[in-house]
Amino acid sequence: MAIFISLAILSILVLLLEAFHFKKTGLILARTGLAVTLFASIWSPSPDLYVALFSPLILGLLFLILFFPTINRLDHVALLLFSGLGALVMLSHTDFITLFLGIELLSIPLYVLAGSGHTRRSEEAGIKYFLLGSVASAILLFGMALVFASTGQLNLLDLALHTRIHFPSPLLMTGVLFVLAGMAFKLSAAPFHMWAPDVYEGSSTSYTAYMATVVKCAAIATVFKLFQFAFGPLLSSWGIWVVLIACLSLVVGNLMAMHQHSVKRLIAFSGIANVGFMLLPLAFYTGFSLSVTFFYVLTYSLATLGILLVNDCIKTSTEDDHLHRFHGLARNNIFLFIVLCVSVLSLAGIPPLPGFFAKYSLLMLLFQQGHFGLVALALLATLGGLTYYLRILFASLQIRSHSDPKPTTVTPYFLGLLLLLFALCLMIFPESFLP
């Protein structure tokens, strides 16, 4: 609770400082404030396992995103902080009302941020995200209403007790599936993924990074909490739907990503494919599945952040987002090139980078559950993923150069170094992150 309050106060303070034009102070305050809350969340972990695992991750990712070179307006920083608060509220919900509150608090600042650029693409992104997001919220609410109608409960604990004792009614099952659909939208899992590529492409790179990492983390944690805890006993009825969504995401994400030429669209589809990997463990209730997904989300977020950071550092004359942006990177800026390589290869699952351990532990889980078909699909998806991840590296090794990858400040280098160090830690001691 203290973390929520301090985060809320922090955002209001930042907003006030913007009003009085203390830009630098505000940015420093936001970063230090976030660092303090991050340490607080690690220092005194919440008794709730899901919150204890994911809230440091969310705060840490938010902290890293504040070092992106295009973060320069304090009101936007304040909106990001509010949205982060929403993510934490959504994560630590104990009943449906708080969950919905959290989701809206997460989303509404994002609608604004997505539309905050002054290009047509950005406006399109804002409107699209807002409209589709509202529909998804409505579906989620409808699902909650159905669950309430059949059980009379809104509290997770009561729901868990109810589902354990009573035989599930068709009404309850419909409600659960609607809730799943609503959450799949937030996760951008296929077939609810249509918004992601357009919105990612239209938004500024730092907000794309936020959507691709923090929002996904919060949503996947919420899905796990909701479905493992409250609807856990009904696994046999919704498990197949989760597997379907996951497989569809794997297929659609990978196939579509192969044809993309825009960096952010590619990241969007890679995110969709990766959601498939993250969702698979949910369908098998073992003690191991949460930690597998946690590790996967961790490595995925760091790698995606790395790619988008490099993308953000490159300034081109035209404002397009084509993969050509990366041309000449290996020759012009070796440090950013190394960050890009480590991130891309980690996402692709090449050993001994952290992404390999994530994919590998997932495969192991599927293997031990005896789902050889899913193992084959996951391996094929990894193979397909390589075809487009390698295109990024391929572009960055080209000699022709359209761009000037010289960040004006030192912060991107600091962020890149942090990401590399963290990848190294994950590589050498993966076990300390596999709870």
Partner: protein, 508 residues
């Protein structure tokens, strides 16, 4: 001296970092530094032959990720030592070759050193997951070399190489995880535990085919060879020599390590099929080599033919076949390096390796054409060259097992020799044409490397016992998979016994 292997593993890593850090040095100094470092590594590899270095038992053991069964476990036995010596020597030669022919780039040398880390780890590790990791580590620098220094940017070639390699290694990973789940309760990837497994025959069969296809892609054998020629032609020069000579032996090394120990029954079951298909693969490859228009193409397909032969003779489960195959692994590596080096010199001077455009090189440089001739003879398995000993033993073993395949092998050898002599005739003899009009100038370094390669090719042919003694050591090992002295005595048959399995089956 127990840390000998760890130093050997750490040195390429350090070298890669040092070379990458010295990118502001002048290019000549960087390449001199790289040659020096690789020479040091090569010398260190020879240490066990001259000094008493304990290589028995586990050299190192550290649990990396206990939950996933991954531990850093290393051990060096006779087979590892042979492969290590071979690969590090070739690395040294390749670094020497890269002195002139290459755009000198620090990252290029770093990439080569990273491949060396992968191979050193691969040949010494005692944990299957670690084996997989090192296997993949060799892949990444090759991708970078293809992308960054490829002679022309061909997206599709790179993708083809990556997809083929990864499809193979995923199959291997699948088989490894499967084996892991088959081990008793605290599951393990440790080779020591795996050797004591006795698997039901049908499971052995599944594992056998998964692993066999994986290794066949890496080697490559015929239905899986499509990545090879484009990759060789696209890679920058000294790097493709490395890929053709050493990386192609990874698959053979894995076959030697895993099949005899893990799937003896499946080996006997599938023996005839595998031998026959390998012989067919060799036949097809040698006929394709006949139609090749470039020197690289000739080399690539003859290499497929030779390596198919090696696999076939390993699967004859005969003692002669085993000896011949291991000998041929060494000999083929050396001759491939030699042949490819000659191609690289020609390509560097005249800008082409198309057969039709080359002629009369003997007139330009006698030393070069003489060396080329020796290497060609060695590849054609003429007596008193390194190619002969291995080839003779292998053909002998195949004749014993499948006389019909023996005839096929005879045809392969004749066609191969024909292709090689034709190539020699076309490029070296005759009068120089418009392309080859300029004199063939080689500097002292290039001459030294050529002469070294010639000495290796003839020396191994004259004194085959140098290698055959080592093969005998490998052959007498208790188990090829695990070299730890624990739990091998009673449970595991010796390799000799495994090789004699077909007789036992027949008697029953």
């Amino acid at each position: 001296m127990n840390d000998w292997y760890l130093v050997l593993l750490a040195l390429p890593f350090l070298s890669a970092c040092i070379i990458a850090a010295f990118r502001f040095f002048s290019p000549t100094r960087v390449s001199a530094l790289a040659i020096g470092l690789s020479g040091l590594i090569a010398m260190l590899t020879f240490l066990p032959y001259v000094a008493s270095v304990s290589t028995a038992g586990l050299l190192f053991d550290w649990h990396w990720v206990t939950a996933l069964g991954l531990s850093l476990t290393f051990s060096v036995d006779a087979l590892s030592l042979l492969m290590l010596t071979l690969s590090n020597t070739v690395f040294f030669l390749v670094f020497l070759m890269s002195y002139k022919t290459l755009k000198k780039s620090t990252l290029f040398y770093s990439a080569l050193f990273v491949i060396q880390i992968g191979l050193t780890g691969l040949f010494g590790c005692q944990n299957a997951l670690l084996f997989y990791i090192f296997w993949e580590i060799t892949l990444v620098p090759v991708i970078f070399l293809l992308m960054g220094w490829g002679q022309d940017h061909h997206h599709k070639t790179i993708l083809k190489y990556v997809l083929y390699s990864l499809a193979g290694s995923f199959l291997m990973l699948g088989a490894f995880i499967f084996l892991y789940t088959l081990t008793p309760a605290p599951h393990s990837f440790d080779f020591g535990v795996w050797t004591s497994l006795s698997l039901p025959p049908y499971i052995q069969n599944i594992l056998f085919w998964m692993l066999f296809i994986a290794f066949a892609i890496k080697t490559p054998l015929i239905p899986f060879h499509r990545w090879q020629l484009p990759t060789y032609s696209l890679l920058p020069y000294p790097a493709n020599i490395l890929v053709a000579s050493v990386l192609s032996k990874m698959g053979l090394y894995a076959i030697l390590r895993f099949f005899l120990a893990l799937t003896p029954t499946a080996l006997v079951w599938n023996q005839e099929l595998v031998v026959a298909s390998c012989v067919i693969s060799a036949l097809i490859a040698s006929f394709i080599a006949l139609k090749q228009k470039t020197l690289t193409g000739v080399l690539a397909y003859l290499s497929v033919a030779h390596l198919s032969l090696v696999v076939a003779s390993l699967f004859t489960l005969e003692s002669t076949g085993f000896h011949g195959a291991v000998f041929q692994i060494v000999a083929h590596t050396i001759t491939t390096v030699g042949f490819f080096y000659c191609i690289s010199l020609i390509k560097h001077l005249y800008g082409t390796d198309t057969l039709a455009e080359l002629s009369g090189l003997k007139k330009q440089s006698t030393l070069f054409s003489a060396s080329f001739f020796v290497i060609v003879l060695s590849l054609a398995a003429v007596p008193f060259t390194s190619g002969f000993v291995g080839e003779f033993l292998m053909v002998l073993s195949i004749f014993v097992v499948q006389p019909l395949s023996g005839i096929g092998i005879g045809i392969t050898l004749v066609v191969g020799a024909w292709v090689l002599l034709n190539t020699f005739h076309g490029t070296m003899l005759g009068t120089p044409n418009a392309t080859t009009n300029t004199p063939f100038s080689t500097n002292r370094l290039e001459k030294t490397v050529l002469i070294l390669l010639v000495i290796f090719s003839i020396g191994l042919g004259l004194f085959p016992n140098l290698i055959l003694q080592k093969v005998e050591l490998i052959f007498n090992q208790t188990s090829l998979l695990s070299s730890s002295p624990v739990d091998t005595d009673s449970i595991n048959p010796k390799i000799e016994d495994v090789l004699n399995l077909p007789d036992i089956e027949d008697k029953n």
